[in-house]
Symmetry: C2
Subunit: 265 residues, 2 copies
């Protein structure tokens, strides 16, 4: 459970970082499965211009380990606590930020897209990043502009040129103004860290030219009452199964990891 | 003067970082002059694909403040101490790494280019970076692979595609192997820091999507006896004036900065 201080920090700053939330055993199986998924040719797996994997959508629906992560009580309970109701999975992806070639994500807010493309009534959906590799200052960490969630949805342009994924991105003047006020934080740390942030937080990440990959699971839990009204995107990008997530037992993922390892030995 | 420990660190690790070597008064005038230079249209000023400034060559020859920096005793004396002889300016540039659009420099060694393109006999030339802006983990700091200078000149490919400046770059396997052994350091700190590194050190830098520009003066001091034998590049890229640099008085740059400020007030 989150403390009162943690909840206040989330509402004031727009994000909350919980280092080393998942164990190394849990993370290791997810990392192995992610590599396996990236080798698959399927519509849910998107690639950089270089051919390196960029993101794998909806992995919780076709991979058992990610399915267990998606219902992990350490992830679900804190978000229920903040929203005061049950949540469902709006989006689930495994972002690669591959070594040497991992590309930029320009500065953007997510709720703008959820509102415009999916008809989500309010920004009552939580972004969550789970670190599968160590996130360092030099391998393209997620950068967040604290307190930028207090300005609502900002004017944005549809960028289809800069990177391999179309995004509604913010202009330089807007980002400069917000950073002047809130600065930039880039939480880093060991695999297993959990970073949650508000749907209106301005965020982005630079490219990665180091030999260190920086895979993160990046998912969005939406309050059930805030289900999307007018979906236009593929089901595996913006889900329309609005049933509340029933968390697993605390040790479901770790037990899976142990069974998997025993079978491999 | 450098201590014995500092000199040993340089020879072992291949680099030495001296934080806040130049005063804020000195750095401020250089920053102002750099902005002025970047506005000029001249062959020495190169730009990114986006049009943002990337680098300004030979600024010490057409700008008085940079001319004084190029002869600053705090820069010249330590290098003379390491090489045991006088030095001359082989290359001098002001790299912009502009906010939002600053582009990547792929992993490379410099001495390979000096040997191949300029006919420099030995790697007895020192790379020096002087920070004009604060260098942070998130605005594209120079990244160095410690101890990579001990492998001599590594095989490299001429990369004319990735970025706006042709470079002899190293392949991913080589960089991975070197990083496995030496790790990566990315010295950061306030404006005025001085980072010196061996001509065979493998280094690079990621792009900069933050609103924080990261200008550095990036220069190469060559031992006079090691002058280049077969120049092929423009004089303002690889200089052929081999006369030893006579350092200025300690306070020459700071006095210039004060005169400049008084004139502006």
């Amino acid at each position: 459970m989150l403390t009162e201080d943690q909840i206040r920090h989330f509402h004031t700053e727009g994000y909350l970082f919980l280092p080393e939330t998942f164990t190394q055993e849990e993370v290791e199986i997810l990392r192995t499965e992610a590599e396996e998924i990236y080798r698959q040719q399927r519509p849910e797996v998107w690639r950089e211009k270089s051919g390196a994997p960029r993101t794998a959508f909806a992995a919780h629906l076709y991979n058992e380990a990610f399915g267990l992560l998606a219902r992990h009580p350490k992830m679900i309970r804190p978000i229920e606590q903040i929203f005061g109701e049950q949540v469902y999975m709006h989006q689930f992806k495994v972002n690669a930020k591959a070594s040497f070639t991992g590309d930029v994500w320009q500065w953007h807010q997510d709720y703008g897209t959820w509102a415009r493309d999916d008809g989500m009534p309010e920004p009552r959906a939580m972004n969550i990043a789970v670190f599968l590799d160590e996130v360092m200052p030099i391998n393209g960490p997620l950068m967040i502009v604290p307190r930028s969630h207090t300005y609502g949805v900002l004017a944005a342009e549809h960028d289809t040129a800069t990177t391999s994924y179309p995004l509604w991105t913010l202009d330089e003047e807007t980002v400069t103004r917000l950073v002047d006020q809130g600065g930039i934080v880039a939480p880093t740390g060991k695999p297993g860290g959990l970073l949650m942030f508000h749907g209106n937080i301005v965020h982005g990440s630079a490219g990665n030219i180091t030999p260190y990959p920086r895979k993160i699971v990046y998912l969005t839990l939406n309050a059930v009452s805030n289900y999307i009204r007018t979906p236009t995107r593929a089901e595996w990008i913006a889900h329309t199964d609005f049933s509340p997530i029933i968390p697993t037992e605390e040790d479901a993922l770790i037990n899976y990891a142990r069974r998997f390892r025993q079978a491999a030995e």
